[in-house]
Amino acid sequence: MATPDAVRMAEPGRRGLFVGILAYRWATLAWMTALALISRDRLARGGLALVVLALVIVWNAAFTMRKGWERPSWRWVDLGLSVALLPFAGYVMEEGGAAGGVPFFATSYPATSALTIGAGGTPATGLAAGLALSIGLVASRPVNGIGLDELDSAQWANLVNGIVYFVAAGGAAGVVSRSLARTAAERDRAVEEAARERERAARLAERDAIGREIHDSVLQSLAVVAKQGRELASRETVAPEQIRDLLEVAVEQEHALRDLLSHPPEEVPPGAVSLRTALSAAAFGVRDVPVTVSTTSGAWMPAGEVDEVVAAVRQALENAARHAHSSRGTIFAEALDGAVVVSIRDDGVGFEFDEARLAREGKLGLLRSMRGRAEALGGSMDVRTAPGHGTEIEFRFPRDGSGVDV
């Protein structure tokens, strides 16, 4: 089974495992070198042993610098080298040394090859590597002229110890690696799932906002066109401007609908809703005064917050339509540093903004409710008005990008 190594290597947990094994590799290599130097005089072929040891060090340097553990072929070559080292160790030792009575300088180092293969593969490949080393270990006796039947019980115990050590090392590294990979895969799935869920919520919120407003307005306009059209059709003569008015209603609705349904031209991050869409939908529901919506690019809010924003804006519009006697309304939303500012302005009668007096007259309810919504999102509300000068309500919502993938 081919393993997507590159992908699995990216996993920090497994990288940590490999670094640990690499440290172990060098520690055992140092131990092996120290042993060889100390017992050089007692070796049958000391010179050859040092030459091979130098080659092993060079191989390990290359293995470390080229990140050999990330490449399956390097891992297997490394294993082959370790397997070969085992009988070779017996060969360079003095007569009978391969039986395991004296410090056996190849023992602990070859296990790193099994660890590396286990960590880079599965428990099965780890076990296989451990077995290959075991075969090398067992073979080291007959290859060096010691029959297995000649071993005493302590030498047998030594041999079995080595086999268990190699097999357990390879298998255990494989198990650890597999559980790290599974944990990583589960975490990736969870992260992906959460992102999908957020995006779905955003889409639903957007569709919801559109759906809520479209229904009444379009149906109402169609009813108006039908009723007036019937009336005009029953007349003898019809002035062009009367048809124009009707045409206007139809064209307005067509464009407003098209605008609303077409994807917003600006890109919003996943998990966010375009304020242009959400506010257009809110404005669409206002029928008493024409409301225009304009936004700068980048005006969006996280899906979880956009409903509160729209609710606050709708209250402001309600205020403008009901109390201000205005002839038009304007909504403007822009993204500034770390915040979104939404302003709702009407050209109506305006009022004296005296909170104490408004409270006494029981007129502060709506304003308080709007401010409450803004503050619930960590934002603020400003009112700018004067008698005869219209009213501007400006909301400032902080936007730190949490909850969306910016």
Binding site: P240, E241, V251, S294, F332
Partner: protein, 223 residues
């Protein structure tokens, strides 16, 4: 150069709906400030009628068959620069409107405006006043922010602090008079700021075209 009441503003109306043209004609003529000297149903016709009649103001729809409004505006701006173009368009066409303004339109009005508003806008555009709507201001703001976010070659003008302030107020629905009151400047000054903003926008377009030409090697004379 403002005309007195005795000399009505000469207007060409361009729209592919004949009913709409008739309506605008009767509205304008009833207002007494303007007279419709020509009509066109398409951008190509619009250029021909404009060059033949040389009106003061062209009232231009954008979405038309064959030759679209933006192209007609560009041609008119080139061949008859003194003719002012007022775009009359449905909502939801702001991106087209931005293009129209970049190639030389001096104003923009929604089709849903009342006859009085249309007549006023014709008079204002004729007097050299920029006619702007809030949604267009939002688009223009985005455009300048987009440009300033990217690497802007030296010499290409950005918005001044004051122009930015004025544009934001236009986007919020303030009139020039209200902007003047709020910023303690005269109404005329507020208008001037907006006119300068439009000029800069048109300059951007020119820079864009120039950059494009240089990229393509079109600026080099043929050997």
């Amino acid at each position: 150069m403002s005309d007195d009441a005795a000399a009505p503003i000469r207007v060409v109306v361009v729209d592919d709906h004949p009913v709409w043209r008739d309506g605008v004609r009767s509205d304008l003529e009833r207002s007494g400030i303007a007279v419709v000297v020509g009509e066109a149903a398409d951008g190509g016709e619009a250029v021909d009628v404009t060059l033949a009649e040389m009106p003061d103001v062209v009232l231009m729809d954008l979405r038309m068959p064959t030759v679209p409004g933006v192209e007609a505006i560009a041609r008119i701006a080139e061949s008859a620069p003194h003719v002012r173009v007022l775009v009359l368009s449905a909502s939801g066409e702001e991106a087209d409107v931005l293009e129209a303004v970049k190639v030389g339109a001096s104003g923009y009005l929604l089709k849903s405006s009342t006859s009085q508003e249309i007549a006023d806008a014709v008079a204002r555009v004729h007097a050299g006043e920029p006619v702007f709507t809030a949604p267009l201001a939002g688009l223009v703001l985005s455009e300048f922010r987009r440009v300033s976010a990217g690497a802007r070659p030296a010499g290409e003008p950005g918005l001044t602090e004051r122009e930015n302030e004025v544009l934001r107020l236009v986007a919020k629905g303030y009139t020039y008079r209200e902007i003047g009151e709020r910023l303690f400047i005269s109404e005329k000054t507020a208008q001037n700021h907006v006119r300068n903003i439009l000029t800069k926008l048109q300059l951007h377009k020119r820079y864009e075209l120039m950059r494009y030409a240089i990229q393509k090697g079109l600026d080099r004379a043929p050997d």
